[in-house]
Symmetry: C2
Subunit: 505 residues, 2 copies
C-alpha cells in the first residue's frame, strides 16, 4: 500500500499573495470553493497577515467576514492560517492577552490550523500563541523558517523542532519562503526530525518555486518521511509562487507514495483560476521563470527589487554591487537572522544606508532594535561594536528577555481607541483589526458598508503587465508583505532626519 | 568524491525551437558562444531538422554555414545534432547512400555527436544512420522515444537499448519530447539499462518541462545512474521547453552528484538570452505554466492545438471532446506508436477525420501508410480491419520489411535536380539541402546572396504575445515541427478530394 501524502492547497492565500500582490477578491474565490472542499486536501490555507491587510486596505472586505464565509463554503475542509507569533498579523509585538484574544476569535470564526512562525526563529516569540491555540483545541503547527548561513546546519532546525514539540505543537512545518531549500537539505532536516523526535511527529513542508529546484526538494522530503506538503493549483503556481498541485500528484505515480486528491476536481479548480488570473494582470508578478542567483546572494527576489528601488530613488542605482556585498556583512553583524519579512527589509535598508553614508553612520530605528534584541534572539552573536553604536544612536539599552515581556496589558486601551473610530461595530474582532492595523482600520470601518471592491478587470481592458502601474501598496509602518513608501526618522549625531525609501514587492 | 553529471545545453537548438518557433537568428547566438564554450558542458546541441528548415525557410541562412560557424565559435565543445534516422532532417525515408552522404557531410562540417531517433522506435530505421556515424568515428547516440501506452513497460525500453548497443552506439538517449517521463519510470528505465547492459553504458536523458515533474525525473534518473542530462539556460527554459540548467546545478548540491559547470559563465549566458528573448516576443509560446492533462489524454500540447484548429476550420470546434476520445482508439488501431512528429499529426488528423466523416470512411494517405507499414513497425499489432481498409483506400499492399529497402539509389537523380535549381552551388551540402527540402530550397538558393534575415525585433516595437500574428510557418509536406496549412488528397469511393487542414505548432 502506498503511503498517503497529505496536501495543503495554497491558492486562496499564499498563491495569490505571491503572484498577484494579494489582490484577489473573495468574490473570485467563491465559485471554486465547492471543488476545493471536495478535492481531498488535508487543509486549505486561506488567511494570513497580507490577506487580512489587503482586505481592509484595498478590497473593502471585512477579513473576519471572509473567514466566516470560507467556513461556510468549505464545510469539509480544515481551514489554515499563517500567524506571525507574537506579532499576530501586524508588525509589532503584542501583549499576551491580545495574542490570546486573537487566537480565540480566529478559532471561534472557523480557523482550524494555526501555522505559527517567528521571523528570527526565536522560540520565545512563539510560546504564547502556541499555548493559546492549544487552549482552543485547534491544531497548533510550530514553524521553522528555513534559511542558509555559515551557522545554520540541519541539526539547528531539528533542535528547533524539538523545542516546538515541547510546547505541545501538533505538527512541525519547515517554511522556505525564499525557495532556498535544496533537495538534500530537505531530506536531511525531515529525516533528522523524524529520527530525533519520532516517526509519529507530523512534518509539513512549505516551499516556494522561485529557484526551480523545490519540487525535487518536496520529493526528497517525502522520501525522508514528510507527511504533508504545500502546493498551489497549476494555473496560480510557479514563478515566486509555489509548485503546481497537479505536478505533485503526477510526480508520485509509482513511487510508493500517493496523494488522495481527486484529479477531476483539480482540473476544474485549475480551469477556474486560469480564467481568473488574467483579470489581475496589472498586479501579476513579472517573474515567470526561475531565479537561482538567490542561492549565491542569499537575497530573496523581493528584497533585491526593494533595495534596487531604494538606490534609484537616491540617484545611486549604480551602487547596487556594493550593496549586494554589504548585505551579508550586515546580516553577519546581526547574528545571521533569516532574511524574511521584516528582517529582510531591515537588513536590506541598513545595507543601503551603509553604502550611501558609511558603515553604521546612520542606523534605522528598526535595525537598532534588531541589534538590541527588541525583535528577539538570533542564532549567532551580534557584533558588539555595532550593538554599542545602536545603543548610542537609539538611546536605548539592549535587552535579553522576551520582547513582549516589556509590554503592559493593552487590551482595554486598544478597545477604547477602536470603539472611538467611526464605523467600529464594537466587536472584539473589530478591536483586533484596529489593534493590528491602527492606520488602515480608521479608513476601513466607516467605508465597510459600501461592500467589497473587486480590483479584477476584464483582461482586454487592461494594459499589459510590462506597462503596469505601480503595484506596491502603502505600508502600515515600513515592515510587512505589502508596503511602499517608508519614512524613517534617522538620528545622526543628535539630529533627526526624515529619510524616505522606495517601493517594495 | 561526488560523481560528475554531464550536461548537454539545449539553448542553441531545442530551447528556441520549443519556445520561439525555431526563429532565433545565428547573429543572436554568436555573442553567447564564448561563454557556452567555456562553461563545461558535455555537449552543445545546435543543429536539427527544425533549425535546418527554419534557416532556409525564414532566416535566409545556409544551415551548413551555421554549422561551420558553430564549429569555429565553440572550439572546445562537442557539437550535437538531432537526426531523424532514415528521414535525416526531412519528412520521408531516404535511400541509404543519401543517408551516408548526409552523415559524412555533417561530420566533415563539424558535428561531433549524432543523436539518432525514429518516431516509431523501429530499430531498422536507425541501423543505417548509426552505421554511417560510426564510420566517421563520431559519437553515435542511439535514441529511445519515450511514450506511455498499455503495451509500453520499462522493459521494452531496456530491450530497445540493448538493440541499439548491438548496433555499436556509443551511448543511449531516453528522449521524452512530451514531458511524460515521470520520476519512477525514469528511475526504472535507467536502472534497467544499467543493470542489463552494464554500468559503463552511457545513458543520456532528454526531457521537456511541460508537465512540471521532469526535473524530479532527472533527479531520479541520476540516482539510477544516468550520466548526462539535457537542460536549457534558465532565461530560455520551462513551459514547453526544458528544465533550467542552473536549477539542475543547484539541485545536486550535497547529493553526491555534481555538474562541473561554471556558475559564473551560466549567469552570463542567462543574462545574455534574457535580453534576446523579448526580441522574439511575437513567436513566443503562450504556454508558460505547466500542463498535466497530457498525462490523462496522452496528447501532447502541440497536437492538441493542431486538432483544435483543424476542427475550427471545419466549423466543428464543439466536437473536440469526441476527437479526444477518438485519438486513443486510432492510436490503438495503429499499434500504439509514440505520439511525436510525424505520428502525432498523422494520428490526430485521422481522429478528426473519423469524427467528422465516420470511422475510417476517409483515410489520409499518411495514415494509410502508417497502417500499411510504410513508416515502419509499431510495438503492437495493427488492427486488421483497418489495415484492410487502408489497402483498399490507398490501393497499396502492406509491407513488412524496412521501408527504405523499397527505395532505389537516388543520389544522382537528386544531384541532377538540385544543380538545375538557380543559385545551387553544386556542393554535396546543397544537394542534401535540396533533397530534404525540395520545395523550400529553390526559394532559398537564389536568395542566399542577400544574407541572413533576423526576425527579432525591438520589443517596444512589437505587439504583445497575446495579439501575436499567426506563428505557424508553412510546411514542407504536412509533417514536421514547423508546419501550417496541410493539403491532403483524400480518396473516397474512388473520387479524390483536396482537404486542407489548419495550422500546427
Amino acid at each position: 500500500m502506498p503511503k498517503t501524502i497529505d496536501v495543503t492547497e495554497l491558492v486562496l492565500r499564499d498563491a495569490h499573495q505571491s503572484l498577484m500582490a494579494t489582490r484577489m477578491a473573495m468574490e473570485d474565490m467563491v465559485p471554486a470553493c465547492a471543488d476545493i472542499d471536495q478535492a481531498g486536501y488535508w487543509s486549505v490555507e486561506c488567511w494570513g497577515g497580507a490577506t487580512f491587510d489587503s482586505c481592509i486596505r484595498f478590497l473593502n472586505e471585512d477579513p473576519w467576514e471572509r473567514l466566516r464565509q470560507f467556513r461556510k463554503l468549505l464545510p469539509n475542509s480544515r481551514l489554515q492560517m499563517l500567524l506571525r507569533g507574537q506579532n499576530l498579523l501586524g508588525y509589532r509585538h503584542y501583549e499576551d492577552s491580545v495574542v490570546d484574544r486573537f487566537v480565540d476569535k480566529a478559532a471561534e470564526n472557523g480557523m482550524d490550523v494555526f501555522r505559527v512562525f517567528d521571523a528570527l526563529n526565536d522560540i520565545r516569540n512563539l510560546r504564547r500563541s502556541i499555548a493559546a491555540v492549544r487552549r482552543t483545541g485547534k491544531h497548533a503547527q510550530g514553524t521553522i523558517c528555513y534559511t542558509v548561513s555559515p551557522l545554520h546546519a540541519p541539526g539547528d532546525f531539528v533542535e528547533m523542532a524539538e523545542k516546538l514539540l515541547e510546547l505541545g505543537c501538533d505538527s512541525i512545518c519547515i517554511k522556505d519562503m525564499a525557495a532556498l531549500l535544496k533537495p538534500q537539505a530537505a531530506f536531511d532536516i525531515v529525516k533528522g526530525i523524524k529520527e530525533t523526535c519520532g516517526q509519529a511527529v507530523r512534518v509539513h513542508v512549505h516551499v516556494h518555486a522561485t529557484t526551480g529546484v523545490t519540487l525535487v526538494s518536496l520529493m526528497k522530503a517525502i522520501e525522508a518521511g514528510a507527511d504533508c506538503v504545500d502546493t498551489a493549483i497549476s494555473s496560480l503556481s510557479l514563478g515566486p509562487g509555489h509548485n503546481p498541485t497537479e505536478s505533485l500528484v503526477e510526480m508520485l505515480d509509482g513511487t510508493g507514495f500517493e496523494t488522495k486528491l481527486d484529479r477531476h476536481r483539480l482540473i476544474k479548480i485549475k480551469k477556474y483560476f486560469a480564467g481568473i488570473r488574467p483579470r489581475y494582470k496589472e498586479f501579476l508578478s513579472n517573474i515567470t521563470g526561475v531565479e537561482t542567483e538567490i542561492f549565491d546572494s542569499q537575497i530573496p527576489g523581493g528584497m533585491l527589487s526593494n533595495m534596487e528601488s531604494q538606490l534609484k530613488q537616491q540617484g545611486a542605482g549604480a551602487r547596487m554591487e556594493e550593496v549586494l556585498l554589504e548585505v551579508p556583512k550586515v546580516r553577519a553583524d546581526a547574528g545571521f537572522p533569516p532574511l524574511v519579512t521584516p528582517s529582510s527589509q531591515i537588513v536590506g535598508t541598513q545595507a543601503v544606508f551603509n553604502v550611501m553614508m558609511g558603515r553604521y553612520k546612520v542606523m534605522t530605528g528598526e535595525f537598532a532594535d534588531l541589534m538590541l534584541g527588541y525583535y528577539g534572539e538570533t542564532i549567532g552573536p551580534r557584533e558588539p561594536t555595532v550593538v554599542a553604536l545602536a545603543v548610542k544612536q537609539a538611546g536605548k539599552a539592549p535587552i535579553n528577555g522576551r520582547p513582549a515581556d516589556l509590554l503592559k496589558p493593552e487590551w482595554h486601551e486598544l478597545r477604547d481607541a477602536a470603539v472611538a473610530v467611526p464605523g467600529c461595530n464594537g466587536s472584539d474582532e473589530d478591536v483586533l483589526t484596529y489593534a493590528m492595523f491602527p492606520k488602515v482600520a480608521p479608513q476601513f470601518f466607516p467605508a465597510r458598508d459600501q461592500g467589497p471592491k473587486n480590483l479584477g478587470k476584464d483582461p482586454s481592458a487592461q494594459p499589459a503587465a510590462a506597462a503596469a502601474p505601480a503595484k506596491a501598496p502603502s505600508v502600515e509602518n515600513g515592515k510587512g508583505a505589502v508596503h511602499t513608501t517608508i519614512t524613517y526618522d534617522v538620528k545622526c549625531n543628535g539630529k533627526t532626519h526624515k529619510v524616505t525609501v522606495a517601493p517594495a514587492q
